[in-house]
Amino acid sequence: MTALLTRIGKAVGKVVGTLYQAGRDAVDTTIKNVIPFIAFIAFVIGVILETGVGEALANGLSGLASSLGGLLLLSIVIGLPVLSPLLGPGAVIAQIIGVLLGTEIGQGDLDPSLALPALWAINPQVGCDFIPVGLALGEAEPETVEVGVPAVLFSRMITGPLAVVIGWVFSAGLYA
């Protein structure tokens, strides 16, 4: 009887402990990674909105983001093999353009039905800064890294704009 009780107690304790640890990890990540980024974004957006830079920037961006052609152009430029590794780190560029476009959508200047191709257009460079490290994490040989870096970069020139087209096709009927 006591053995059974001990076993139940241990099992419950393990589950509760795991859940508690999961909560702690979640709060840690939020405080360490998410809130600092929100603070940074809030500052940038505040200045952009108040100084009027936002309007100029938004006009340029929404001109680009308001049509499929513009989004394709955006994805082609961001996905250029020379630019993509520079624009990749921390997805900072993708996040800033994302927030700017989101603000435009929220103000009604940009049609929400284009949100899906826009999500793909701001992100053809994802991970392009990280290819050697990512491959090293997968225990790749140096020769593989030498071949893999240009292979991924060139492949993105095709799949970056293609993803925008796929996003556009799949946004049929979205927020219509």
Binding site: T30, I38, I41, I97, Q107, I131, L135, E146
Partner: protein, 182 residues
């Protein structure tokens, strides 16, 4: 003179007040749900145990086109879901060298599309999705249809990226060997 100074000061503090409004909006609108979701998925993964996942990887590296959906769709999805960014890329180790760049391309392209439903995969880069999300929220529309479509198109795109990069790697490898032979 003092009026001008006061006006300048007001303008200056106005920037930050607007920033503070944006900050409150993002924290109240996004953080609570994010924390609860993160907790649930973290617990689930801890209970399953990442070591059970590894066996699957060895199976994914086989030759033949029918294994490509396993290599560039199922394996990257499991890796990103369980190990999250950036540890997901370690799962490339179970694949032959010639497939590693393509696997990396697939996996790294999947660290944002699930953010609308499973933000635990990459909370540090949440605003790739969260920026657009804030705009949809501001219009009073439900973000779920967009989140689902982002996830589905993500699956399609990572599979295509895997195939294209595998092909590109083969071309580059041929050129590399030809150069070193010459």
């Amino acid at each position: 003179m003092f009026d001008a100074l006061a006006a300048a000061a007001e303008e200056f503090i106005g920037w930050f007040q607007r920033g503070a409004e944006v900050f409150t909006g993002l924290v109240v609108g996004i953080i609570p749900l994010l924390i609860v979701l993160l907790t649930a998925v973290n617990a689930l993964i801890a209970l399953i145990g990442p070591e059970r996942v590894n066996k699957f990887g060895e199976w994914a590296g086989r030759e033949g086109f029918i294994y490509t959906p396993i290599r560039y769709l199922i394996w990257p999805v499991i890796s990103v879901f369980v190990l999250t960014n950036p540890m997901a890329y370690t799962n490339g180790q179970f694949l032959p060298e010639k497939y590693k760049p393509a696997f990396y391309d697939s996996a790294v392209s999947f660290v944002h599309p699930p953010l609308g439903i499973f933000p635990h995969v990459n909370p540090g880069e949440f605003f790739v999705w969260g920026g657009i999300l804030a705009g949809i929220d501001a219009l009073g529309l439900s973000p779920t249809p967009l989140a689902v479509r982002y996830l589905i198109t993500g699956l399609i795109v990572i599979y295509i990226r895997g195939l294209v990069t595998e092909w590109m790697t083969r071309i580059m490898w041929g050129r590399q060997t030809a150069e070193s032979a010459a």
